[in-house]
């Protein structure tokens, strides 16, 4: 392992702040730098992946050993997510090369880098406060990204995101403060080890505060009201990034906290119930939407609800399904948002009227959107099906038959509104007011790659299966996480 | 087998035709009111094998019962042409013979057999049922002797009939598909 995983955070940070300088050399240099760093990040994470799967790696920064110094805890689950985040970030960055909505490239690419760096940081860090810091970096840069276009909808969404985000960070801070004054340490493994010694009332308070803070970040039912506005307000590539990256980081934090740190089973059951509620509410409210981007926001909430439900079940197969659904959700939502972004740009808006008959004018883009839709609905040859099936089989094994029926009913509703959009796109007569413009290569490559991933994973799920098994084992085995992190595994 | 030579087979056929005459239920004039009494209990024409037939295709006997306006004549000719070969016409009342009471009317025809071949005329300004049965018996005798060949007569001098008809109808003639055919199954 030639490079130290810490570079995954260090390099984006360094480049992010050097982008304004690069702006003088060449106007577009910032963008190319951004995608270069993200490519480096992906390469680095994929190279450390096999090592981390053998034995979790503990990276010491500045010589202080835990529980004192800040260190990175690279466990199979975290490195897997890091790969996913950086890969998605890289794909979105290619898309951004040609996207002209970014009025000043430096600020935009810097923010993107910060978001990806924040997410990677959350995923890799072993220190709870460090996670909070990365969370702050990520959310602040995503507030800025939401209102990057300075149009009415964008800025309004940004403000709402800011308000709710600040609530979530205050709760997080409160929780961490309680833990810190009780246990005196900030290292996750150490907290996990001595969590039971805390005074039960305060422990409960800390867990509920953190549960709530992370709940907002991972778009749980009562707390996710901000998400649809943000997905609609933010420009399409940004929305794709959010659904692929930021939410994943939030979910990782929630899982890491509930399973390894507090291991509080009643909260896990609560998470399951909230998951189901998210699925039902978001699918139903998507029914009445007339704007496709907002509808996609709701359906992404629905998918996250399914993930939360799977995590909430807690059995090994459920977690494997959850991790599989992580990947699928990221890939599918990225495809859908990117393709709808382009379609909206060419059709001049993303509501049903504007998109009438667009399928005949831009068959490729609408086709990609259709494949994404089929995948999200979980139709067999595509990837959504296998992960949903694994989650449902796990739920059935855990005797939650009623909940399984609820999820399936919700996906029937989902089928209804997705096919309604497809019918609007493909069956209406060709719109005369939209003239056909050629789609530039930078947009086509990411979409082709994403579609390749959808169909590939769908047909051969076995390829990724060992990674899901490893990640699920890592989440469940709380004991050896603590032992490795404290006793110093691969000392670096 | 069905050649027209008056062999034994034809004799039996004529016997059958004599005893089973189907009357077309088509009252053209004031005589139509005489038909029910001839068919019901008192006079009972069914004894002679008479029976009502709903359509010209099934009928053998066409009874013209009274004066014929040109308008009705057109329908009568079409019906007559739709009937099948051994077909007979029984004309009741003096109006069919020589125009009768309407002898100088611009609208009624004066001589029926100018337009369709008539087998038996029954005079009377509407003959009573006994007279009608008398006419039918006379018709049966003609059939038995094989002289009731109205269809053949119509077929052979069709031009003459059509000329007379054109005189009355002018150029508003009936379509000619009801009388000139080619073969076919």
């Amino acid at each position: 392992m030639s490079l130290n995983p810490i570079l995954m955070i260090a390099v984006p940070l360094f480049v992010a702040f050097s982008i304004p300088l690069l702006g003088y050399i060449h106007k577009k240099a910032g963008l190319y730098a951004m995608s270069a760093t993200l490519l480096f990040n992906t390469f680095l994470s994929f190279s450390t992946l096999p090592h981390a799967f053998e034995k979790p790696i503990r990276v010491i920064i500045a010589g202080y050993k835990p529980p004192f110094g800040i260190n990175l805890a690279i466990t199979p689950f975290s490195i897997f997510l890091a790969c996913l985040i950086s890969l998605m970030g890289f794909i979105v960055s290619i898309y951004l090369l040609k996207d002209e909505t970014t009025e000043t490239q430096e600020k935009f690419s810097m923010l993107i880098l910060l978001v990806v760096m924040g997410a990677t940081g959350i995923v890799l860090t072993g220190d709870i406060f460090n996670m909070f810091v990365f969370l702050e970096i990520m959310s602040i840069s995503s507030y800025a990204l939401t209102s990057i276009r300075k149009d009415r909808k964008g800025s309004e969404a940004g403000i709402k995101f800011l308000l709710v985000g600040s609530i979530s960070s205050t709760f997080l801070l409160l929780g961490i403060a309680i833990i810190y004054n009780q246990l005196g340490t900030l290292n996750m493994a150490d907290i996990a080890r001595r969590f039971s010694q805390m005074n039960p009332k305060l422990a409960f308070a800390a867990v509920s505060f953190l549960f709530l803070g992370l709940g907002i970040e991972s778009e749980m039912f009562p707390l996710n009201a901000w998400a649809p506005d943000v997905y609609q307000g933010a420009p399409a590539p940004v929305a794709a990034l959010f659904s692929a990256v930021t939410v994943k980081a939030g979910l990782y934090a929630m899982i890491r906290f509930l399973y390894t740190i507090s291991n509080n089973s009643s909260f896990i059951k609560l998470l399951m119930l909230f998951g189901i509620a998210t699925v039902i509410v978001s699918e139903l409210s998507a029914l009445k939407q007339t704007d496709v981007k907002r509808m996609l926001g709701y359906s992404s909430l629905g998918q996250i609800g399914v993930i939360l439900f799977a995590v909430g079940i807690g059995t090994k197969t459920a977690l494997e399904g959850a991790v599989f659904h992580f990947v699928n959700h990221a890939v599918l939502k990225a495809t859908m948002f990117l393709s709808i972004g382009l379609l909206a740009k060419y059709a001049g808006g993303s509501s049903f009227e504007e998109l009438k008959g667009i399928g005949k004018k831009y068959p490729f883009l609408a086709g990609v959107f259709a494949i994404g839709a089929l995948g999200v609905m979980g139709f067999p040859p595509l990837n959504g099906f296998m992960s949903k099936l694994m989650i449902l089989t796990a739920a059935a094994k855990a005797e939650h038959v009623v909940l399984v029926m609820l999820v399936l009913a919700a996906s029937v509703v989902e089928g209804f509104y997705y096919f309604r959009v497809l019918q609007v796109m493909f069956r209406e007569p060709e719109p005369t007011r939209i003239e056909k413009r050629s789609v530039s290569l930078a947009f086509v490559i990411p979409l082709v790659v994403l579609v390749g991933m959808i169909v590939g994973i769908g047909l051969f799920p076995g390829v990724l299966m060992p990674y899901f098994k490893g990640a699920a084992m890592d989440i469940l085995s709380r004991g050896d996480y603590i032992s490795v992190m404290l006793s110093g595994g691969g000392a670096l | 087998m069905c050649t027209d030579n008056p062999g034994v087979w034809e004799y039996i056929a004529n016997w059958a035709r004599k005893h089973s005459i189907w009357v077309l239920a088509y009252g053209t004039g004031c005589g139509a009111i005489e038909m029910p009494p001839t068919m019901t209990s008192r006079y009972d024409a069914e004894r002679f094998g008479l029976r009502g037939a709903a359509t010209p295709r099934q009928a053998d006997l066409l009874i013209i019962s009274g004066y014929l306006a040109t308008k009705t004549l057109k329908r009568v000719i079409r019906t007559y042409e739709q009937m099948y070969d051994p077909k007979y016409v029984l004309a009741l009342g003096s109006c069919t013979i020589n125009g009768g009471m309407y002898w100088d009317s611009y609208n009624t025809i004066k001589k029926l057999d100018l337009y369709i071949p008539v087998d038996v005329y029954v005079a009377g300004c509407m003959p009573r049922p006994e007279a009608i049965i008398e006419g039918i018996i006379a018709l049966q005798k003609r059939i038995e002797e094989g002289r009731a060949e109205g269809a053949k007569k119509y077929r052979e001098n069709i031009e003459w009939y059509k000329k007379n008809q054109r005189e009355v109808f002018g150029d508003e003639m009936l379509p000619d598909y009801t009388w000139n055919f080619e073969g076919g199954i």
């Binding site: 308000l163 040859p381 096919f419 | 088509y26 199954i185």
Partner: protein, 628 residues
């Protein structure tokens, strides 16, 4: 090499290939589809034939609980595979001329091939997940074919997808429950697990499976999607749709209720007249469907809608026959499934040809085509004789078996219900052939119409031969049915010896003697009438008895198409025509969208303060709920 396990891939791969290759040179699509259908027929008949009983397992290195897809073949799946393969061949042949110049030419062949592949997958799959996968693929690819021609209502597609997906998910829930008991999806493990289940779970599972399959077979309460979907789907796909797709419901029903769950287990739950409660209810649903759908079919003016309702009614017979679960009943269901798919293929292909040629699809606009389209007339004539169940052709044999099964097991009232609908079927059969071919042409254009395109002649003639074959030798199919029944573990039902006769419980009949007597008399009378009588005159079209008037060219003489107008004056029938179940579904639809709009306004109402309020409220509720 090619066997039951990977026969699925051929049509699917060729479908995708055809779509893209067709973009360069258009006729490649027809060629490839024909090639694939011929190859599939060859494989089904010879390679994956009766004798190749084998289990092939694939596991894509999936997690250990999911031990791979299994494919296999036995008499039962072979029986349905033959139906699928040949209908695939005939419909692809028929679709070549009909879809040639349509703009959705490419996507038609793509989805048509995928559907055919999915059906083969369903028939050959030996484990629940692969069964469900191919069931889902069938659903969404047939959805695209339903929605394809642009001049249809959008609502049809949506109702189709909602019903079928809901049915599929009901089936999925039942599969998952079975899996949670059996620990594996493979059929043999499932059979063992079901026998250990408690009564209530068996009842619940069979209810869910029943819903899944009844939706596909369009039985009464769940049939809303069927008439519109059959009528508005692409003309050349409808034969496949109604002829073969509904038979998948039959296959699934018999497979799950016959072999997997086993009628004996269901019977153990709640028994009524020595059959299971569910079976009895479903049987009654079948009867009610056939009666209602038959009367609905009679009053239709659109040709395809009439045939749609008639297929719902005929499948209703199959449902009744197999639901009661007797050996003879299932045999009758299998026999009628074959006959019905042959008839529906024949009728829908011919009707598609007629619509293609005349451009009209209503009875009131057609008429008098017998002189212009003699072969189509013969095809529809054979079709309606089969549909009405008349003796010389196969339709009678299969109906006879169903009647025998119902009488033998004392389900007399079920039988009376079936009699009502099968007698009323004569009306819509006559309306079908009169409306299109007999009577007077309702517009002059119909007189210049040519015969249906050449490609359609092959399926028409072959299907007519099949109908004749099953009619003259009713016993010929019996050995195949018996191997199929053994495939699902049923005992032998028939006791007919030779291919000529068909005899079961209470009696029997000799199809060969029937046709000989009919033929002899017909020939005798025909010869006597044509030679020994005066040649009859060829009357002109308008030389008819018209109460002494003279009809001219444009007097409307074709009002025979209005058959069924007097039905709503008959008290019972009128009432059945007026009751509509669609109102119930529309109300539920409105309820759901009502809830959705309430949710949207309450939860996502768009201003930040409310979101913050929700966050705090959840915190408080967690404290109250969870705090000890």
């Amino acid at each position: 090499m090619i066997g039951p396990h990977n026969i699925v891939l051929i049509p699917v791969v060729i479908g995708i290939l055809a779509y893209f290759a067709g973009k360069l040179v258009r006729p490649v699509r027809e060629g490839l589809t024909l090639l694939s259908s011929l190859f599939v027929c060859y494989v089904v008949l010879f390679k994956a034939g009766l004798n190749t009983i084998g289990i092939y397992t694939y596991n894509f290195s999936l997690p250990q609980y999911f031990d791979g897809f299994r494919f296999g073949n036995n008499g039962f799946s072979w029986y349905f595979a033959v139906i699928i393969a040949f209908s695939y061949l005939f419909v692809s042949l028929a679709s070549f001329p009909l879809v040639k110049d349509k703009e959705y030419h490419g996507s038609f062949y793509l989805f048509f091939n995928i559907v055919a592949g999915a059906l083969l997958g369903i028939v050959y799959s030996r484990d629940l997940v692969s069964f469900f996968i191919f069931w889902e693929i069938m659903t969404w690819s047939s959805y695209f074919l339903v929605v394809m021609n642009p001049n249809t209502k959008g609502k049809t597609g949506l109702t189709y997808i909602v019903f079928n997906v809901a049915g599929a998910y009901a089936m999925l829930t039942a599969m998952l429950i079975v899996y949670s008991y059996a620990g594996s999806f493979h059929f043999d493990r499932v059979v063992k697990a079901v026998s250990l289940m408690t009564n209530s779970t068996v009842f619940f599972i069979s209810l869910l499976f029943a819903i899944g399959f009844l939706v596909k077979m369009a039985t009464m309460p769940l049939h809303i999607w069927a008439p519109d979907a059959y009528t508005e789907s692409e003309d050349s796909f409808t034969p496949f749709f109604s002829g073969t797709l509904s038979k998948m419901g039959v296959y699934g029903f018999i497979l799950f209720f016959g072999m997997l769950i086993g009628f004996v287990n269901i019977k153990g739950v709640y028994e009524i007249k020595d059959t299971s409660l569910i079976g009895y209810i479903v049987a009654w649903l079948g009867v009610v469907t056939s009666v209602f759908a038959t009367f609905r079919a009679i009053v239709q003016d659109e040709i395809k809608r009439l045939l749609a309702y008639s297929s719902i009614a005929q499948v209703g017979y199959i449902v009744t026959a197999m639901a009661v679960g007797t050996a003879l009943g299932v045999a009758g269901a299998l026999y009628h499934a074959l006959i019905h798919s042959v008839i529906k293929l024949l009728l829908f292909i011919t009707v598609a040809g007629v619509i293609y040629r005349t451009g009209k699809n209503k009875f009131s606009e057609l008429g008098g085509l017998i002189t212009r389209m003699p072969l189509s007339y013969l095809a529809v004539l054979f079709g309606i004789i089969g549909l009405a169940g008349m003796p010389p052709f196969g339709g009678f044999a299969s109906k006879w078996v169903i009647y025998m099964s119902l009488i033998k097991n004392h389900y007399y009232f079920l039988l009376i219900g079936m009699i009502v609908s099968s007698t009323a079927a004569f009306l819509y059969c006559y309306k079908l052939i009169y409306g299109i071919f007999l009577g007077h042409p309702s517009s002059q254009g119909l007189m210049e119409v040519k015969e249906v395109p050449g490609f359609l002649w092959v399926p028409q003639i072959v299907l007519m031969m099949v109908l004749m074959l099953t009619g003259f030798f009713p016993g010929y199919i019996v050995p195949f049915i018996e191997t199929a029944m053994k495939g699902i573990g049923f005992s032998v039902a028939f006791n007919s010896t030779s291919a000529y006769t068909l005899s079961a419980a209470l009696g029997g009949f000799n199809g060969f003697v029937v046709i000989n007597v009919l033929g002899a008399i017909f020939v005798f009378v025909f010869v006597w009438y044509t030679l020994f009588f005066p040649k009859s005159k060829r009357l002109h079209r308008l030389d008819i008895y018209w109460a002494a008037e003279t009809p001219d060219e444009n007097t409307p003489l074709h009002y025979g198409y209005g058959i069924g107008a007097e039905l709503d004056r008959i008290p019972w029938v009128g009432m059945s025509l007026r009751t509509h179940i669609t109102r119930f579904y529309e109300k539920t639809g409105e309820q759901i969208s009502g809830i959705a709009s309430v949710l949207k306004d309450v939860v996502f109402n768009g201003d930040g303060q409310i979101y913050m309020l929700y966050a705090i409220l959840t915190l408080v509720s967690i404290f109250l709920l969870m705090g000890r």
